[in-house]
Amino acid sequence: MILTAGAIAAAVAAHEIAIDPFDPGRLSTNAYDWRLGETLRTCDGDLDAAAPTPFTETRIPTGGLVLEPSVLYLGVTLERTGSERYAQMLNGDRTTGALGIWVHVSAPLGHAGHAIRWTLEIRAARPVRIYPGMTFGKLVFLQTFGAPASYQQHGLKYTATDGIDISRLYEEIPGGAT
């Protein structure tokens, strides 16, 4: 089951959900409307799952920055969010979607125990200008079923990220970079 705005606000007040910074005005019917952070990494080379991704990092100027199709951008949410109790799903909203922007590449799930500024995997269908701090999508919270397990206890890769993380899949692939 998915939390409504009232349930999200109550869970924030009870410290069961952390959203930082939290703006009650950004609660929508059954989601929190999150914003795009100001840092962007551009990945326009050839990639290898067994090697770290080369990138160049830029700040999105207040006048905006044009995303080009066929380039992969890694961005970050302005907010840090986390919950030990609820799973999270991050997606774009219908406004960003109608601009032809993917905010992630088929990986929306935030596990219970995540406490992160989310790395975004941004791709554009057409050239499109984006701005730092713009509302970029919706974050929903899901009730879980079964005994809880926290991401923090799994020894996983991205437990406390505070910025953009390139993929660390290479750590898992035999013969990959370490």
Partner: protein, 178 residues
């Protein structure tokens, strides 16, 4: 409600869901990591026709990896057979794979209660990307359902290896050749 990792393990043990082979190390706080199988299919005609069976060619991903090219659609598959007669499965990419710009499914994350088999992956890279057989590529999560269940008996049941679209099978009386 979304199943926790311990509940996925418990449900695997008591038969409410089936993952074969099952490896405890692939259980996440709210999902199970699935691996990339060795076979890729690509459509061979320049235009895919939704109303016709489309010829494909198979490629085997060798241990040295295989480079996926942007602009091509690759049908891959999970090594694992996954299904449940109780829970609704959803398949997504992993964040580590999304950060490499690789779409693992295209607009169809939701599975059917009662489907059992290898899942077809719809691989579409943003940048040229080298992938490896057996790499943990996606994650399947399970949701509790509400209401009576009519188990899946559809056209992809018991799939082994990647399955091209069989939309053409559903064409009745619309002038399509089947």
């Amino acid at each position: 409600m979304i199943l926790t990792g311990p509940e996925i393990t418990a449900a695997h043990q008591d038969g409410r869901l089936r993952i074969d082979p099952f490896e405890p190390g692939q259980v996440n706080p709210n999902s199970y990591n699935v691996r990339l199988g060795p076979t890729l299919l690509t459509y061979t005609e320049p235009v895919i026709d939704a109303h016709r069976p489309n010829p494909t060619t198979a490629t085997r991903i060798g241990p040295a990896g295989y480079v996926l090219r942007p602009g091509e659609l690759y049908l891959g598959h999970t090594l694992e057979e996954v299904g449940s007669d109780t829970f609704v499965p959803l398949l997504f990419g992993r964040s580590s794979v999304g950060r490499l710009g690789l779409f693992v499914e295209i607009t169809a994350p939701i599975g059917d209660i009662g489907f059992h088999g290898q899942w077809t992956l719809m691989l579409s890279p943003t940048r040229p990307l080298k992938v490896y057989p057996g790499m943990k590529i996606g994650q399947i999560m399970f949701f509790v359902s509400v209401g009576p269940v009519d188990l899946y008996t559809g056209k992809y049941q018991a799939a082994t290896g990647p399955q091209p679209s069989r939309y053409w099978r559903d064409q009745t009386g619309t002038g399509a050749v089947a």
